[in-house]
């Protein structure tokens, strides 16, 4: 096997050497999911990017359908085709590909480059933790270190930071009649303005769910309903990491958590993953699904399903990613474009504060290991361009999000998109899933168990016990647990 990979390396080295002779023309190829933020990056680079080195650098993005993005990237990396110089990686994939030798460790380059250090320091700590560090360093530690410390391993930069929050129908939540009825029943007001959501708890969320769940023929905001209407929805889907993303938030908010990879090999699984806190959080999560559309019962309520239902005017409020917000406020695709507002995700009272911990979304982009110095230098220049203030502002204006504190603190930031304020306020609460290579097995098994619980085959505790047992064994086998 080694012989072959050497041969491959030799082969590509010659090819690259060949291109290095004509140093002026350099193409940086990047693998990226086929969606708006990456399309923007391509268009914007075409229009504005000139390499400071004077070389003629071209960014060429290979757009790949998101549902198949992992398969393709995984295949490309492991097949040794060495096609990409940069690629977008979901944050939790970092360990897998770093340990396989595909992602480049950037510490040396960052150490030599003040500009890069500045960027790292300007990034939100949650993003540095989730998108860049392996082995993972938690956000609070990163923040303590001022984001940059030479003994932390840095790999990625935010290409598209993301978090989830509430989309709600202001025509319902601000409706006087509904408000009166709600107050009569629950004794509190419906949150109408975005700020009103800052104090919403899961109990309230449950009330909204119960309150707005209506049958066809009943009235809603004075209108007769032609079909059933549902109160609330959030991710409860088996594909990818859907359920996990939302359920993790419940774990954290209830004071539990997931296996702490930062404390490997001393962090236990048993008793943590199936802790009472986690069970309580998970039970709450399951309970609230009763007010969700019936698709929740199938374990197929993914981010797109709730988006679709919401856009079709079937749900009063949902929790979904910022990345999916643009079509919701676009009249061409959404029936509720004019009546949608955004607010923070509900939280749980934990130790006296309203905890809003949530699972970080979005993706970093990373450099691959087979590039020569020249390409690496140009790729890093490209990173710097992307994370420059101007580019970031343009990206945000085009519907994206930024991870740079300087941009987030721009007084106009909130006005560039209706959900920006909510995104910004949610950022500090973000934590991430594991990044170790065993992530996929853990995730797959966990999604399966969560799905069993969601579809009513097992209880919350049974599911979490099974998850804990599996993770314990797996991590022990992998020597990540003593």
């Amino acid at each position: 096997m080694t012989r072959f990979s050497e041969m491959g390396a030799l082969l590509s080295a010659t090819i690259l050497a060949g291109s290095a002779v004509a140093a002026e023309d350099i193409t940086i190829r990047m693998a990226a999911p086929d969606w708006g933020p990456t399309r923007f990056m391509q268009d914007h680079a075409n229009e504005t990017y000139t390499a400071p080195s004077g070389n003629n650098v071209k960014l060429e993005i290979d757009f790949i359908p998101w549902p198949n993005f992992f398969d393709r990237v995984n295949a490309s990396l492991n097949s040794g085709e060495q096609k990409y110089q940069i690629l977008v990686s979901d944050s939790q994939w970092l360990g897998t590909f770093i340990e396989a030798g595909h992602f480049m460790k950037l510490n040396d380059h960052i150490a030599e480059d003040a500009e890069l250090q500045a960027i790292i320091k300007d990034l939100h700590p949650a993003l540095v933790s989730g998108y860049s560090t392996y082995p993972n360093v938690p956000a609070d530690k990163i923040a303590e270190m001022g984001n940059y410390a030479p003994d932390v391993n840095y790999y990625g930069f935010p290409q598209f930071p993301d978090n989830y929050f509430t989309y709600y129908r202001n025509d319902l939540f601000c409706d006087e009649g509904e408000n009166a009825a709600f107050k009569e029943k629950y004794g509190s007001e419906l949150p109408c303005a975005a700020e009103d959501w800052d104090s919403v708890t899961w109990d309230d969320w449950g009330n909204f769910g119960e309150f707005f769940t209506r049958k066809a023929g009943e009235t809603l905001a004075g209108q007769m309903l032609g079909s059933d209407f549902y109160g609330i929805a959030y991710q409860a889907g088996k594909p990818l990491d859907f359920s996990t993303m939302q359920i993790n938030a419940f774990f954290w908010q209830w004071g539990g958590g997931i296996w702490d990879e930062a404390n490997e090999p001393n962090a236990p699984v048993l008793g943590v993953v199936n802790s009472d806190e986690n069970v309580a959080g998970f039970e709450r999560y399951l309970e609230l699904l009763n007010y969700a559309p019936p698709i929740a019962k199938t374990g197929q309520m993914g981010i797109f399903e709730i988006q679709d239902l919401y856009m079709q005017g079937k749900i009063a409020a949902i929790i979904d990613w910022a990345a999916l917000a643009a079509p919701v406020v676009d009249p061409a695709t959404s029936q509720v474009a004019d009546v949608t507002s955004f607010g923070m995700m509900p939280g749980n009272m934990l130790n006296g504060t309203l905890d809003r911990s949530a699972n970080l979304g979005g993706q970093p982009f990373v450099l691959t290991t087979w590039n020569d110095d020249l390409v690496v230098a140009e790729a890093l220049d490209l990173v710097k361009w992307w994370l420059s203030e101007d580019t970031q502002i343009a990206a945000v204006k085009a519907g994206g999000q930024s991870g740079l504190t300087s941009v987030l603190e721009n007084p106009d930031y909130d006005s560039w998109a209706p959900w920006n304020a909510t995104y910004r306020k949610s950022l500090p609460w973000q934590k991430d899933l594991w990044h170790v290579p065993e992530m996929f097995e853990m995730l797959t098994q966990q999604q399966e168990e969560f799905d069993r619980a969601i579809t009513g085959q097992v209880s919350a505790r049974e599911a979490l016990d099974a998850v804990a047992e599996f993770q314990d064994e797996l991590l022990r086998d992998a020597d990540r647990l003593q």
Binding site: E60, P67, S76, Q307
Partner: protein
Amino acid sequence: MASGFRTHDQAGPVRTFFAWLVGIIYFAPVFWIVLTAFKTRADALAIPPKLVFAPTLDNFRAVFFQTSTTGEVTGSGVWLYFANSAFIAGSSVLLALIIGTLAAYAFSRYPLKGNDTYLFVILSTRMLPPIVVIIPIFLVFRLTGLSGSYIGIILLYTGFNLPFSIWMMKSFFDDLNPEVEDSARMDGSGDWSVFGRIALPQVKAGLAATSVFALILTWNEFIFALLLTGPETRTVPVAIASTIGGEIGVDWGKLSAMVSLFLIPVFIVTFALQNQLLRGVTFGTVRK
């Protein structure tokens, strides 16, 4: 037959009615997809389903033209994918047809020792779930450096279409009267000339059927197209997949438009080749 007791080959009005009814019901989901191609998203997802709606061509426009984040037309949409599909499918089918026809002729006319074993192995490899062969194929591609290149994917599809081409063409050659070829030998033709001038022209329909079926299989192939092609070599099915799971989940209209567009040539070809259909879908093992 105008009248008489003979009824075994003509359907009565009741059976005709039911056959048509079932045909239409069976086709309804396909019809639904085609209809959706002309719908806005709201119409597409409307419940109860909308049969009357204001048709839009936006979905087709979205297929053929790429719009930038600001809404201008910046690219030519899936044209590259179509061109890739045509080139990759075309060359691999042609290659498989050439190599496969030669082999099929040999299997039919010059049986080797263990002829059936060869044929069996050839068919078996084709019966494997793609997911099972993909890992080793990766390793071979890694070894040969073919990954992501046109040659790689064309060779792969050629290898994929070969079993089909061989079995299919063999069934056609088996149907020929070998005396005709002997006759040509008597008339002064060498073996190659017999093959080219006598045998091949007689299986023209077979060549057409085989290439079309191989083309459909190749055209539809998704997983290898996704995994083993690069940005320049990607094909239509991957483009279809990118309408699923963008920032808007499934782009129902665009998906339907692409599926419908893709269906047109297949529908026409299938209609034309209805008599060869059975042979085609069973690798030539069932002829009549």
